[in-house]
């Protein structure tokens, strides 16, 4: 008689192992469906898990960079507003200078103009020392103090530095935060460095009796005012261009955020339709093997004895 037989123990062992593996895949599908996540641990798909980590990092950094871009846009808008105001002031000063240069304007008229020019100079000083919403000077470069200071003799000088901090607004893209006060208000006049405040204060002083020939002084001042207006509006353009750039970057970032979300979903989310179909398939297989197991295990010769 041969020793080889179909052992009952082997049958139970095999059936248990098969049903166990079906139950295992059912549980995995169940977890995928209930969490919505395809991967519960990295080892299920190492490459996808690593890609998801990189995407999560890009997403987090993009959020912060978008914050930075918002803040930069606000700062640039404020700086632009202040410079536009300064340009208006200087245009008004130029009108006044032309009026003062007219011989028909009397001494009283010139005194009134001098008074107004002094006021304009004060207002320009305020605008040049404007601050951001969070309290930092707009035009001082990276320095802490006010951008311009007035000495005891009334002369105004630049107090900031020529550094401009850069802000990361997108992966690999840094934008300069603004322009320095020196760029906006200081210029060379006939080879001599001066600033808008000096031009205004000088004209005001000349018109209020400081000059023997106020008309000639007013005529001479127009050249300085032109240079001041020129410098200011040039920087207004710079800020406008930069602001437009920030907006382009913000649009790109928004597009990119969508792409990242799409990729994350592709890599990490459960495909519900597929998962549910597979769950149903596995359920059917498990039910079938359970019922065939009960039937086969009932088939024993002892029932016939």
């Amino acid at each position: 008689m041969s020793f080889i037989s179909n052992s009952t123990g082997a049958f139970y062992e095999r059936s248990l192992a098969q049903m166990g593996s079906l139950r295992g895949s059912l549980e995995r599908l169940q977890t995928q469906i209930s969490t919505g996540q395809r991967l519960t641990r990295g080892s299920e798909d190492p490459a996808a898990a690593s890609r998801l980590r990189t995407l999560a990092r890009t997403q987090r950094l993009s959020e912060v960079q978008a914050d930075n871009a918002d803040k930069l846009a606000r700062d640039l808008t404020e700086a632009g507003d202040e410079i536009a105001g300064a340009a208006n002031l200087l245009s008004r000063a130029r009108e006044l200078a032309i009026r003062a240069a007219n011989d028909t304007t009397g001494e009283n008229g010139r005194a009134a103009i001098a008074e107004e020019l002094a006021q304009l100079e004060l207002e320009l000083f305020d605008r040049a020392n404007a601050q951001t919403l969070t309290g930092e000077p707009l035009f001082a470069g990276t320095a802490a103090g006010p951008a311009f200071v007035r000495a005891a003799d009334g002369t105004v000088s630049y107090n900031g530095n020529s550094d401009i901090a850069s802000v990361p607004v997108a992966a690999g893209t840094e934008l300069e935060r603004g322009v320095t006060g020196a760029q906006v208000f200081e210029f060379d006049l006939n080879g001599t460095p001066t600033n808008a405040f000096a031009v205004l204060a000088g004209l005001s002083a000349a018109l209020s009796g400081g000059s023997p020939d106020p008309v000639a002084a007013a005529k001479a001042a127009i050249e300085g005012l032109d240079a001041a207006i020129d410098t200011t509006t040039r920087n207004q353009t710079v800020l406008g261009t930069r602001l437009a750039w920030v907006e382009v970057i913000q649009d790109n970032q928004a597009d990119r955020a969508l792409t990242i979300a799409e990729q994350q979903s592709d890599l990490g989310d459960t495909d519900l339709g597929e998962a549910i179909a597979r769950l149903q398939q596995t359920l059917t297989a498990l039910e079938a093997s359970q019922s065939s197991f009960t039937r086969v295990s009932n088939l024993t010769l002892f029932n016939a004895l």
Binding site: R41, V64, D67, L305
Partner: protein
């Protein structure tokens, strides 16, 4: 002669009854995994006589034989050893993956990078500075947490290994006891078959813990040696007849285990113990990588601090203290001490050059973020490959186990058929006795 018929009928009935008892024993043990099916060996009994052609004396019971297949047993043992090794290593690596992934170290590093980037947008904002500082504190405790969970995973594997080692030494002394008894057991007895069952069970349990090679003495006593790196070149002896040689383990500082038999170092091939040793080595390697990443973060942030000036214009102080993942701590006391500006900058400088170079340094490919990703990717790839290996080994082991069961296991249908057959044999022999009795009566009734 009627006396012979009685003798023949009696021996036949006795053999049938003994076979039925053995069948009942087989049925009773059909669910016992250690039991190998028994069958009764019988032999025709013929008396030799010088005067005639011989006398017929019925059947004699020779002994109990036990289904046994050394080769299949050996295959089942070695495949179970390989599976147990893969299983044990997989469990250790799973715990390691859990420790490193769920500590959310990668996310912690990205968050640190993100708050520093945010600070670049507004370097003098106190809220952002405090946020950056607290995220640094969080990062240090994340490293400590990862270090602790990795340590816990390591301790768990070490506990498993010490249980495995105890089991090995328990099974080898059990085997030596069985070997002693086998020497005294008579061939073909039920006692000998039971000892063989116990021997095979002990060998199976031993093989699950450590890879072995087995040779059998004439008595059936098992001599066990550690499996070598390849088949046919076995390692040192564990069991030789009645004597045993215990395996001992030596733990290193990094948590890995070395094994020795009788003081001489051995390498294990196969079995849970080998898998646990491999898992411990992997964990020691990941510990080194984790510490290196922590040291890298400390070095990069402290170097950046040293080359910068803080919000008050003072030289930057170290960001973190410590040298590895376990002792990393935040060293700065206030957000104002973050050296965002280059060295020599005055107080309140909005210059972020120094901060920008720190952010760039953290985010480079060989920086801590990239290295953590590489660490996790390496670990999960290794685990995934190990999982594939394990399912292959599991199929082989299941196959070998099924083959073993079909060779040695009890088939209830066969036993049921035997029951019917043997019952009929018993009835037939009873009938022979009846006939003998009738014949006797007939002879006695002759007048």
């Amino acid at each position: 002669m009627p006396g012979a018929i009685f003798q023949i009928g009696r021996s036949g009935a006795a053999a049938a009854r003994a076979s039925i008892e053995l069948t009942a024993q087989n049925i009773a043990n059909s669910a016992n995994p250690d039991y190998a099916r028994r069958s009764l060996n019988t032999r025709e009994l013929v008396g030799v006589s010088l005067t005639s052609n011989g006398t017929l004396n019925g059947v004699s019971i020779e002994g109990i034989s036990r289904n046994d297949s050394t080769l299949v047993q050996q295959q089942a043992r070695s495949s179970a050893s390989a599976l147990a090794r893969a299983d044990a290593e997989l469990v250790g690596l799973r715990d390691t993956e859990l420790a490193l992934e769920q500590s959310r170290l990668f996310e912690g590093l990205v968050e640190f990078e993100a708050v520093l980037t945010q600070l670049e947008g507004n370097p003098l904002e106190p809220a952002l500075r405090t946020n950056a500082l607290e995220t640094g504190r969080q990062l240090a405790s994340t490293f400590q947490f990862a270090n602790t969970t990795l340590g816990n995973a390591r301790r768990q594997v070490q506990d498993f290994a010490s249980v495995s080692l105890d089991e090995v030494n328990r099974q080898t002394s059990e085997l030596s006891r069985i070997n002693r008894n086998l020497v005294n057991a008579r061939d073909g007895t039920a006692g000998q078959a039971a000892l063989f069952d116990a021997r095979d069970a002990a060998l199976r349990d031993l093989a699950a813990e450590v890879g072995i090679e087995v040779t059998f003495a004439d008595t059936g006593a098992a001599n066990v040696r550690l499996a070598g790196p390849s088949a046919g070149s076995p390692g040192p002896t564990l069991v030789d007849g009645a004597s045993t040689f215990a395996i001992s383990s030596i733990a290193s500082v990094d948590g890995t285990l070395d094994f020795a038999v009788g003081g001489a170092p051995v390498s294990l091939n196969g079995g849970a113990l080998a898998g646990q040793a491999a898992a411990l080595e992997a964990q020691a390697d990941y510990q080194i990588q984790l510490d290196a990443i922590a040291a890298d973060v400390i070095a990069r942030t402290n170097a950046a601090q040293a080359s910068g000036a803080d919000a008050n214009g003072a030289a930057g102080q170290p960001f973190f203290s410590g040298t590895n993942a376990g002792d990393m701590e935040l060293a700065l006391a206030s957000g104002m001490q973050l050296a965002t500006a280059p060295a020599g900058s005055p107080a309140g400088s909005a210059n972020t050059t120094n901060l920008a170079s720190l952010v760039a340094s953290l985010g480079t490919d060989d920086g801590p973020v990239g290295r953590t990703d590489a660490l996790l990717l390496g670990l999960s790839s290794r685990l995934s490959a190990q999982d594939v290996t394990r399912s292959g080994l599991s199929a082989i082991a299941q196959n070998a186990q099924a083959t073993l069961l079909s060779e040695t296991g009890v088939d209830l249908d066969t036993e049921a058929a035997n029951l019917v057959r043997l019952q009929q044999a018993f009835e037939a022999n009873s009938r022979v006795l009846q006939v003998a009795s009738d014949m006797f009566d007939t002879i006695l009734g002759l007048r």
